[in-house]
Subunit: 640 residues, 2 copies
């Protein structure tokens, strides 16, 4: 379907992949708990009442802020994300009850849609007459994007076109209103999202109009005179102290190709860069890709938490100064890490490169997964790296963006495991799974067997049918050391065959070939960049893709009293009895003694240190037991 | 004048003491810059317009909050504190221009006073009819207290009675309204202050009514049914999410004698405890003193910053959990440290004890002094222990409580240096000064000569006239080691003569006797309590009463990149050329190198350390040069 015939890699569609192993349990949690919670809470919040024109116009439930906006303005996006998540669950396993719910929601949206195609519950029912007057704050295009992603996913899962048709009509309306033509407004999304959604529609239908609109949004962003300023003046807005009044907040402070620093609201940034990557890939626009590479460097060299989280500040839900990594007050919104997974996956579209896959995996297994309890029923909005035990997952949130985002990403994880080009398949992530690919005129089946992330052995069985030759690229994680590989039992020389961190085998494959990667999962002691003031004198632990942390449940003392030597040997131990089964890391350490310290707060002699043992657990699994402290960055033992 | 004939120590009146040395320069800064700033800003803010009934009722300048309160409600307190500060400056040196200003302000207050004695600009002019309806939030009694302190000070400085008479009438009105009698309201101050002010009036006049009212306020506080709840119900107040709705905020969560934990708004707490100490001393009520000792232990063992600051949280301007000492976000309001000086001085009234004097000195030289620029023209509200260079002193503040508080404390510092009992004089602080005391039927003059806090030698010359014998108590600071003393050149055996940390000499003094203390000012490396998580792996520096810090101006690198060995020898050097002359501390240290680190944020090998030299300056003097980082707690060097 793509207009581009280059050797770019696209994710497979979800029905091509069946997922087992580690991620199967996450999908099961989403199916069992998250999916019903999403719907129930949308009903309880009043979201459905707002969308349903057969109901009386509901009362305002969430106050209107100083810019005339309210979180109720983006309830449509919740509907879109719920439908998208449900679509992926249906792809994974048909479920008439889920489909019935989606069809009901689609029916509500159909009745809500205006004769001119406009589709937005807030501006149709709550504030009629104000549509398209505040793109900066009011999330109209953001809502459209999430609804569109839902429509595309539901069509792919079921073949049902109705929602897609609704959205096509709405997009026609939007394309009519906005653009560089005469009489059109030169607006673009205040919260990016529609750009990437348009691109997923474009990949589905090949309709050039959708690519053109996405490209227009990308190209127009940040041009002067500034659209948001003009719009604010038209509204008669005077001083606005909201973060959004600063154009960095929405990455519209300059044209996107001139941007080289990751700024503003973190989720907005990730969604923009994802959309830019889609457009760059489908148009071959190298100037966009160059900007993205600079932004990637900036993010990963100055503002990415070790969790794959980002955006330390609650104030702007986003970025601050270089190397600013508060631990206890880290905002690091779950949705931002999810957005990074979206962006990284798209950067992998330019060809397998572990530079992107490492970060995608880092965010997935840490900052994303931590957003959800093991049972899928409770959620974090913020993902700090230290807690006194007062940061707990909640059942719902006034701004419930994260749970459906977690659900749609988890339920579609299969499409992140692999990438596919004209005659290549890339293995980006390791997970028990089977993938079916049409390639080079024939069919290829890849079957992964692995206990990853608990064990580093990955067996990939290749099935072929009418295929001449193709390239299989299997990722060697950037953090790994001494990975070995065998093909049908014979050692593969890695030095010769690794390209951008992927073992790349371009050969005639035989049905039943088995490629085995053995990735040693050594415990790694991690030092922070010298400029990270909050982590001075501290180290962290990782094993494979998993970041580790200390939790009170395993270490019954105030966690900042431990002292760890950097040369400590940590012993991994798989524990089936805790946290649904995780590998823990155990080691000797020392504890700063309070015994003998006295009653003063400060004194002139160093405290005594006593021997102890510490046990670290995967970061993503913290706060699934009783409330207690958590610590990622542990103080180094500095006393003789 | 006192009703109590016990051996308690009271501060001398200000005219008894003339101050030189270190504190003279601070008084000069207050006289030259702070004093005019106070008045100019009160004019600019509109404070005088609100008080002046000959002016039209002014517009609201500071918004009214959710409880119907506004900072404008406590503008009267600013007038009171300005008058008090001005009175101390007049005591120090008569100044007709200053007196003219005070007389003008007193004239405004006289015209403002209502026929029934009531005196409050807000409820007379801005919200007439609402007086005494919200003691919890509206600061009426707090205002009365500050006006009263101003009136007492101005009378002592000048003998002028007019303001005192105004306040006596107002107090009669308050005593009429509040109490346990029939028809009286059982209210008490929401923000404590009037209690201690009543006690200073009582000490001046001996009028039992004033002691009775102060005692009533202290005794009534926290009783059930809770007055603030009843009052809120009477106002029809429903849910109130302000911190003040929690009675811990105002230390009214239980009767004061049952309180053993320092909670709530920090300034409120310090003012309450000061008032309690005054009442305990003048009534001999041991149950109050026992409560105060528990509260003192709690404060100093769990919630006192090394600066003598307290109250880490901006949210409640006050206290949080045990051992919670954020550095960069420390609130540690200047006024809270000032309040601690008030409380500590009153605890010294029970007899010289370096347990209290050490803390008084710690707060004075660090958390209090840091609140004012060296020239007296700019001010901190918050006093963090770490800064990235964005925390700067301001010229004024919407809530300008700290500058006049700094001015009145600094200008009256003479009364903190000494304490006087029936036949004893205590030297609590070291500073060039002369004190005149009527004692044991005769006259004693003490003259201190010292370069303290830069040098630890203190010579105290004793002049006597018609005095038989008296006790001279000279403090040996708790942080000092190996202090020696000589009397007229002969060594004094300290072990025998030290009581509660004071060298106590009860003897027949001869005119011209010279007592010399030699207090070694060694640099001290300070370790934090093991439970202070924010300072894990960090140490601080002090010399004498001064806490030290690193500042960018002397250390041109990110301060958290330094690593210091605890056994480092720091060399003091007096530098006349910086910060109006301070002793700096120099030492070798190491710097975490960014060279060779690479572009990643995290890596598996420790960074390189390179040798460097660091220079620390007194904490109180930071941010008097160009903007830059500041750090108190330095990371310990943990690498071999």
């Amino acid at each position: 379907m793509s207009v581009s015939e280059s050797h770019t890699y696209r994710p497979p569609s979800l029905p091509q992949i069946s997922v087992g192993g580690f991620w199967r349990s996450r999908i099961a949690a989403v199916r069992e708990h998250t999916a019903p919670v999403l719907y129930e809470r949308a009903v309880a919040a009043g979201t459905l009442d707002q969308v349903d024109v057969d109901k009386p116009v509901p009362e305002l439930r969430i106050p209107i802020g100083p810019s005339g906006d309210t979180q109720q303005m983006f309830w449509d996006s919740d509907i879109g994300k719920i439908i998208e998540a449900y679509a992926y669950l249906v792809s994974d396993k048909r479920d008439p009850a889920i489909e019935e719910r989606v069809d009901y929601l689609v029916g509500l949206l159909k009745k809500l849609q205006q004769p001119d195609g406009y589709l937005n519950s807030w501006f149709t029912r709550m504030q009629p007459g104000k549509r398209w007057t505040n793109l900066r704050d009011c999330h109209e295009m953001y809502n459209a994007g999430h609804l569109l992603e839902g429509a595309v996913a539901y069509y792919q899962a079921t073949g049902k076109r109705e929602f897609l048709d609704i959205m096509e009509r709405y997009l026609d309306h939007i394309a009519d209103q906005f653009g560089t033509g005469e009489g059109q407004k030169r607006g673009y999304p205040g919260h990016e999202e529609l750009e990437l959604a348009l691109m997923s529609l474009y990949r589905l239908t090949g309709d050039q109009k959708r690519l053109d609109l996405a490209s227009y949004f990308i190209n127009e962003r940040g041009r002067l005179p500034h659209y948001f300023d003009q719009e604010a003046a038209d509204r008669g807005e005077k001083v606005n102290k909201r973060p959004s009044a600063n154009h960095e907040y929405s990455q519209s402070h300059k044209p996107v190709r001139e941007q080289d620093k990751v700024v503003g609201h973190a989720v907005r940034a990730m969604y923009l860069y994802s959309g830019m990557a889609d457009v760059a890939m489908e148009t071959g626009d190298d100037s966009l890709r160059q900007a993205l590479d600079k932004l990637w460097d900036d993010l990963t060299s100055k503002r990415l938490y070790l969790t794959g989280g980002m955006g330390p500040s609650k104030e702007n839900e986003g970025f601050t100064a270089d190397y600013d990594f508060p631990n206890e007050s880290a905002y690091a919104e779950t949705c931002a890490s999810i957005g990074l997974v979206f962006w990284a996956r798209r950067m992998l579209g330019f060809g397998p490169n572990t530079r992107y896959a490492d970060v995608m995996e880092q965010a997935l297994y840490n900052g994303v997964l931590s957003g959800m309890s093991l049972d899928g029923a409770k959620f974090f909005y913020e993902n700090p790296l230290e807690s006194r035990g007062d940061h707990r997952r909640w059942e719902w949130h006034q701004c419930p963006c994260c749970p459906p985002n977690l659900a749609r990403l988890t339920a579609s994880i299969g499409t992140y495991i692999y990438g596919q080009s004209e005659n290549g398949i890339a293995v980006h992530l390791f997970c028990d799974s089977t993938g079916h690919f049409d390639i080079a005129g024939g069919k290829v089946t890849l079957t992964q067997e692995t206990r990853y992330p608990w064990d580093g052995k990955v067996a990939i069985r290749v099935g072929v049918e009418n295929v001449d030759r193709f390239t299989l690229s299997a990722r060697i994680p950037g953090w790994s050391r001494n990975t070995t590989a065998t093909l049908n039992g014979d050692k593969v020389e890695l030095e010769m065959n690794v390209q951008d961190g992927y073992l790349t085998l371009d050969r005639q494959w035989k049905d039943g070939d088995i490629l085995v990667l053995t990735i040693p999962l050594d415990t790694r002691v991690i030092w922070p960049h010298p400029e990270i003031r909050q982590n001075a004198g501290r180290i962290a632990l990782a094993r494979g893709p998993l970041l580790y942390c200390l939790a009170s449940a395993d270490n019954p003392f105030p966690l900042n009293r431990i002292r760890v030597r950097p040369d400590t040997s940590f012993v991994p131990e798989f524990r089936q009895d805790i946290l649904d089964g995780v590998t823990v890391l155990k080691a000797p350490a020392r504890l700063v003694a309070t015994e003998g310290w006295g009653t003063t707060l400060y004194r002139e002699s160093a405290p005594l240190l006593v021997d102890t043992t510490i046990t670290a657990v995967p970061y993503f699994a913290w706060d699934n037991r009783e409330a207690g402290e958590m610590l990622v960055w542990m103080p180094v033992d500095s006393q003789g």
